[in-house]
Amino acid sequence: MDIFAPLQWLSDRITYDLFGLSPDSHLGAAVNFFFYDVPKIFLLLAVIVFVVSYVRSYFPPEKVRKYLTHRREYLGNILAAMAGVITPFCSCSAVPLFIGFVESGIPLGVTFSFLIASPLVDLVALTLLIALFGWKIAVLYLVSGLVVAIVGGIVLGRMKLEGEIEEYVWKIRMADAAPPEMTRAERVQGAKDQVVDILRRVWLYVVIGIAIGGLMHGFVPADLLARYAGPDNPLAVPIATAFGIPLYSNVAGVIPVAQVLVDKGVALGTVIALLMATVGLSAPEFIILRKVMKPKLIAIFVGLNFVTITITGYVFNWISPWLIG
């Protein structure tokens, strides 16, 4: 049962009855896509952000930090990656978080697993993936994001990069601020605030992304892109990953376009790699991390993620026949 059927019905009424467009026309297809997906995404965002924010209020970074402090390699990496998913990521909080983890004795590799997972497996991204790609792919993204974070953290941990952290970080003594417990009402209000905040930030990107996606959906001939970036082009994945690294885009705008890319023949894995590279690695993040990491470490960090994301892209491409069907 498609719970969004009423939205599809409404979109059909608007596109075909109100605007009088034909279902077979390019413009009709584009507009229909727009009026279906925009409300669908806003609805999903509201619900999912609310629920997840509420759950998240039970896992503030301070608690996560305490919990991870005595973990070793492997288990620590796994837990850290999972914690990264649970903890919302903000570029500006990346540094205090990093400092907090390192200072409390959490191994560098474990900290990195957290730092990779947090922006990569992002709540808004997952919601949009569910909305536009379906549950299967969203779950797979989540799982591969975790793998990328766990493996990345383990490898980085093994490389003994402590010397590449800015010296002052090791000298910091962080106070143990225990966050006050929130009441049920405060958690609900906090979750509501998050919904409003996220919708306020992303609504325009969603509209623009869906508009572009809709236009491509309606006007770009099917399989045009398959010739260049389809499953037969083995270099497509690394190129897509490399392309995504410098791209600094709000994920809400990128995913709708990603969906259309796949629709028009670009291999799924290639698109996912592009997505991960765009979302997981961003210029502002590096600029801020420069405050605690020496350039060599940042380069290694980026390079390693490039490799793991590219591999993930290839894997997705390999299994995509099982996914899109």
Binding site: E62, C90, C92, I172, A177, P179, N250, P284
Partner: protein, 94 residues
């Protein structure tokens, strides 16, 4: 009253400062507002999610930007209303 905004200069942190100033003005209290962006100092308060609001040496709020009214209430009441919602940026914020 000594108010400190802990943040590294991103949009949210500036927003918190703006909101804090509004609250101070609306309450008509005498307070100094300082913006701290040095990470060593931020860490010394035990804050891991910026922006954060410190009043007279005590962390009252971290990880979100409330309304001016909320901040005013916080300053007045002296009760703890720290939230741990985090940034919730949706990628590429600040």
């Amino acid at each position: 009253m000594e108010i400190k905004i802990l943040g590294s200069g991103c949009a949210k942190c500036n927003q918190l400062e703006k909101v804090a100033r509004e609250a101070v003005v609306s309450l008509g209290i005498d307070a100094t507002i300082e913006h701290v962006d040095d990470f060593a100092q931020i860490a010394s308060y035990g804050v891991m999610t910026t922006p954060a609001l410190v009043v007279d040496g005590e962390v009252r709020l971290a990880g979100r930007v409330p309304s001016a009214a909320d901040v005013a209430r916080l300053l007045e009441s002296g009760a703890d209303t720290a939230g741990s919602g985090g940034c919730g940026c949706g990628g590429g914020c600040c």
